[in-house]
């Protein structure tokens, strides 16, 4: 395991035992390459070997649905009640009252700075003409969040207090956080039938893991003495938990509340693909479908502003605890006054019928029309340039990664044929390159070059399944030990057996393509931000905002210019996934100890030497964590990007959703989660090795 750290000295090539494994894999790769026609099943997994798991699940679901229908429908109706009630209230209350209430909340949470932000944002929402849709969304969020928090609190207590919880909750949470958003909707759809309740329940479940994690983390970090002080006072376990431990852990729990609120909002927006609730997500989606991007943009901004308001206020509450404020005594008093004022205002406005219904905001309509016009003009005028950008990336980046150089170099794409002699020289160059790199920087790097060259030749989708599984399993085993190796084997085996392999590889390809670009872009910005405080100060709030925006919104600007297709999906994924790359790179570089740098300067290193040979290696573990996060973000966005034209698992999940096919949805959703977890396990083990290497 530690072999890739110990052996970094130049020519002193010691081959540890693991080399034999790699040689076997290379042999397998050669067999698949040369004798492909005699062992086709090693290259392409035969269709009649599939396990029809999806069908079995459907049979089970049909049976279960028939039994559970009365119960689920009852629960659905039960939840529909408060949601409809909240919806009525939010629609009934004059919007100035709501805006004022938000402002007061912001004032209480933080101060006048936040009030200005929140008032401007909510005024926009009110005046954009999307007030009704926004309030419908808020009605869903308003019921989903408390449900999710309660669920999260319960599970968090379970996860921290019981032995079984400590054992089984972490993997369940991992799974819950990697299962794609759409996949949550499918079983809900089948169980609860079309309607907003599906989004409500899916959102409550989807959003609870951060709450669970933070509650359990918070409870576990309550000092033992405090727990014992409560016990020695003779507290019952209820008193101990609710009077002492939970309040003492509140700082951490509030972080969880903030994250859960944001996740719930994100899911509610995504759930609008089910349709039929006239919420703000649906507004964006339907205008996008009609290619009225001006309207989508205006509505998209509403979503962004809702997200910002909710995030900033809940984050302010999370940061503002008893440690900073003294006593909260006067706030009860203030609360009553504020509530009274709001009610009076509400009554007055109602009486004069002001601010009750926002009429079609004409000006907003005309702005939207104007935007639509301008966008059409722009795309008309620069369409050729946009198309060539798209084609360039498609032919020279995406296609080679997908089908490999062997398939993608054609007169039509690259302007020439990939002839036999060229293929042979490519192979020779790669072998020499791998050996050269291996001699210079250690055999692992040489092996890496060989694997990449192989992948580039055959493409992600063209690479034989046997070689891919063998390579990843062995890699997992080498970096993370036997458990990781077995996990990778099991995960990929599941995908293969259930017949998801080809789709999965398409997802891997697009996710990989996006992750590479996100990381290159993000890491470059991170390097810049680490060396320049002004850049850092500008980038930071941008990153914060990008992280609060629900994924869905990223589709609007990309689709606007590049129509449906993989390139558009690629851009949308990059727009969402580059943030962690920036953050971890900057942090990693900034945390390099100044003493080390001084030593390097004294030894007469040039700035570029310092950067490449001191800073970058030391920041590497942190950057690897950033890369891992980037990949996870890319997987999350991949599924949403199915709306704008992808071909992988994401697309399959979306199709399963529209067809309400639970079996297909569950299997492809699980496959996606397993892919993400595979990448996560390998990357984390790798980063851990690098950290260990730094210490040692």
């Amino acid at each position: 395991m530690a072999s890739d750290i110990t052996n970094q000295s130049g020519l002193d090539v010691k081959f540890p035992e693991s080399v034999w494994g790699w040689l076997l894999i290379i042999l397998l790769a050669l067999i698949c390459g040369v004798f492909a026609s005699s062992v086709p099943w090693l290259v392409k997994y035969p269709q009649n070997w599939f396990v029809p798991l999806a069908d079995w699940i459907n049979i089970f679901t049909d049976w279960f649905e028939a039994i559970a229908k009365p119960v689920t429908r009852f629960i659905g109706n039960l939840l529909e009640l408060p949601m409809q009630g909240l919806r009525e209230v939010l629609q009934w209350v004059p919007w100035p009252v709501t805006v004022l209430a938000v402002a007061l909340l912001a004032l209480h949470a933080s101060g006048w700075g936040l009030v200005v932000i929140c008032v401007l944002a909510s005024l926009y929402i009110a005046l954009s003409g999307y007030w009704e849709q926004a309030m419908n969304t808020m009605a869903l969020v308003g019921v989903a969040v408390p449900l999710s928090l309660l669920l999260g609190l319960g599970l968090g207590i379970y996860a921290s207090r019981t032995r079984s919880g400590q054992r089984i909750m972490p993997p369940i949470l991992d799974l819950m956080q990697t299962i794609p958003t759409f996949a949550y909707l499918i079983p809900m759809l089948v169980l609860f039938g079309f309607g907003p309740v599906v989004g409500l329940i899916a959102s409550a479940i989807y959003a609870c893991p951060p709450m669970v994690r933070n509650v359990s983390l918070g409870l576990q970090s309550v000092p033992e003495e405090i727990r014992e002080a409560a016990r020695m006072s003779g507290s019952s376990s209820y008193q101990q938990l609710f009077w002492v431990e939970i309040p003492a852990a509140m700082g951490q729990i509030k972080v969880g509340i903030n994250q859960t609120i944001m996740a719930a909002l994100s899911m509610v927006i995504i759930a609008s693909v089910i349709g039929g609730f006239n919420d703000i997500g649906w507004e964006v989606l339907s205008t996008m479908r009609k290619a009225r991007f001006g309207d989508s943009l205006l509505a998209g901004v509403v979503i962004v502003f809702i997200a910002i308001i909710m995030d900033r206020i809940s984050a302010a509450y999370a940061n503002r605890d008893y440690l900073s404020s003294g006593s909260d005594a006067p706030s009860k008093h203030h609360f009553l006054i504020a509530a009274g004022a709001l009610i009076v205002l509400c009554a007055v406005l109602k009486f004069f019928d002001i601010g009750t219904a926002i009429e079609e905001a004409d000006w907003a309509k005309s702005i939207a029309d104007w935007l639509n016009l301008k966008l059409d003009e722009f795309v008309g005028a620069y369409g050729d340039i946009l198309t060539s950008i798209k084609n360039f990336f498609y032919f020279f980046y995406l296609l080679p990664l997908r089908t490999g150089l062997s398939q993608s170099i054609l007169p039509f794409t690259w302007g020439f044929d990939f002839t036999g002699p060229m293929r042979i020289s490519y192979a020779v160059m790669c072998v020499l390159g791998a050996i050269g790199v291996g001699m210079r920087w250690g055999w692992q790097k040489g092996l890496g070059v060989a694997i990449l060259a192989y992948l580039l030749y055959f493409g992600t989708t063209g690479a034989p399944w046997s070689v891919v599984i063998a390579t990843l399993t062995y890699l997992g085993w080498q970096v993370g030990g036997r458990k990781t190796g077995l996990f990778v084997l099991g995960a990929l085996g599941f995908i293969l057996l259930t017949g998801m392999w080809e789709r999965a590889m398409l997802s891997v390809y697009l996710c990989g393509a996006a992750a590479i670009m996100s990381f290159l872009f993000g890491a470059s910005v991170g390097v810049w931000a680490a060396s320049n405080d002004t850049v850092s100060a500008i980038v930071r709030p941008i990153c914060d905002t990008f992280q609060t925006i629900p994924l869905f919104v990223f589709l609007i600007p990309t689709l606007m210019f590049f129509q449906l297709g993989e390139f558009t999906a690629l851009l949308a994924i990059i727009a969402y996934a580059f943030v962690p790359a920036i953050r971890y790179t900057e942090n990693g570089l900034r945390e390099v100890s100044p003493q080390l740098l001084e030593v390097a300067v004294e030894q007469g290193c040039t700035p570029s030497q310092i950067f490449w040979q001191v800073k970058l290696p030391l920041a590497m573990p942190s950057m690897m964590v950033g890369l891992n996060q980037t990949i996870m973000y890319a997987f999350a966005m991949l599924v949403i990007a199915a709306l704008v034209g992808t071909t992988g698992l994401g697309q399959q999940i979306y199709q399963a959703l529209t067809a309400a096919n639970t079996g297909l949805g569950v299997v492809s959703g699980l496959s996606m989660a397993l892919l993400a977890m595979t990448a996560d396990r390998i990357m984390q083990a790798w980063a851990a090795n690098r950290y260990a290497g730094l210490d040692g």
Partner: protein, 354 residues
């Protein structure tokens, strides 16, 4: 003070072992005694278990100030935590007011803690989200006392520990000494009979520590609690204790009054502690005196040492006199004499059987 009186808390063959190598060797029916117990403890340690308390036998009297003393890791905290059942003993018996304390139900245990026990922690264990008043009132709140009632009691306790005016402060706004005053006030709020203090002053500066010890003594003259006090500081133990139990590797190696221990350390381990102690301030004349051989005590002429005098005082007194010094008791009766050589011998430690 100490002396007669009934037993408040008693440990009989009490064990607490961490680890699971010892298996079923600690059956309550056949616990080893004396040297056998020591052998068993050694056996278990070499098998990889930690014997935090081995065969503890103690009787702590009502109103006694009892100190558990020993180096860090010697098992003091564990013993105290067994006594309050924050840790469950592995074997043995524990009696409070003569009644079995180990076999009671959770509900009863909760009641005992509510009514009879108070505990002060080394790192204060204050609830960070509660004000000083709420912290002190917490044990009353747990019992269901009304807000007015518990606030009145809390304010009374806060005054008692000298924190008037800080009722609404939060723990993070207080100094270490103030925090521990809150801890003390909270532990006394329900007027417990048994008062546990686990190194309550170890986290404080030496000057504050001295001050807090004085306050503790003052409180004890007011309340006469049965105190079980843990410390690793021998001077603190000597200053506060009626009796001290010295622990080493989970075993109690000596129990006695501070004077007993200073004059007759049972083992080298104890002697090590004693070396540090200012003997002149601890040893009392009554322990050095040769009692009168004959008859009833007679009145001294006023020219006598007092039997409660410390060695230090006696030395300065003797400097102006020669010959055997007469000793008188509280009523001024002559009860014995002390040869001056004995004072100097006691000073150097040559007196006590070395």
């Amino acid at each position: 003070m100490a002396g007669e009186g009934k037993t408040a808390l008693e440990c009989r063959n009490l064990w607490r072992v961490f680890g699971d190598a010892h298996g079923g060797k600690l059956a309550n029916s056949a616990l080893p005694k004396g040297d056998d117990a020591i052998r068993l403890a050694e056996e278990m340690s070499s098998a990889g278990d930690i014997v935090a308390c081995g065969d503890i036998n103690l009787k702590i009297k009502d109103g006694e100030f009892f100190v558990l003393m020993g180096l860090s890791g010697s098992g003091k905290s564990t013993l105290m935590r067994c006594m309050s059942r924050l840790t469950e003993p592995s074997a043995g018996e524990l009696l409070i007011d003569g009644e079995d304390f180990l076999g009671i139900s959770d509900q009863e245990l909760m009641e005992v803690r509510r009514r009879k026990m108070g505990m002060v922690f080394q790192h204060f264990g204050l609830f960070p989200h509660m004000s000083v008043r709420e912290n002190v009132a917490f044990p009353l709140r747990v019992q269901g006392a009304s807000e007015a009632e518990r606030n009145a009691k809390a304010d009374e306790m806060i005054t008692l520990v000298g924190l008037d005016g800080r009722e609404d402060a939060f723990p993070h706004q207080l100094s270490g000494g103030q925090k521990q005053r809150v801890g003390i006030a909270r532990s006394l709020a329900v007027d417990p009979e048994l008062w546990f203090l686990d190194e309550p002053f170890s986290a404080l500066d030496p000057l504050i520590r001295w001050q807090m010890q004085s306050e503790l003594l003052r409180l004890q003259t007011l309340f006469h609690k049965t105190i079980i006090f843990v410390t690793h500081d021998f001077m603190e133990a000597v200053r506060l204790a009626d009796r001290i139990a010295i622990m080493k590797d989970g075993l109690v190696v000596q129990v006695g009054t501070p004077e007993d221990i200073v004059l007759n350390p049972a083992t080298d381990y104890v002697a090590e502690f004693v070396k540090e102690a200012p003997r002149t301030k601890i040893i009392k004349i009554s322990q050095l005196m040769e009692p009168l051989k004959t008859g009833k005590p007679k009145k001294s002429g006023g020219e006598a040492l007092h039997c409660d005098m410390t060695l230090e005082d006696a030395l300065s007194w003797s400097a102006v006199r020669g010959g055997a010094l007469p000793v008188a008791d509280e009523d001024g009766n002559m009860i014995g004499t002390v040869p001056p050589e004995r004072l100097t011998a006691a000073l150097s430690g040559g007196d006590d059987g070395e």
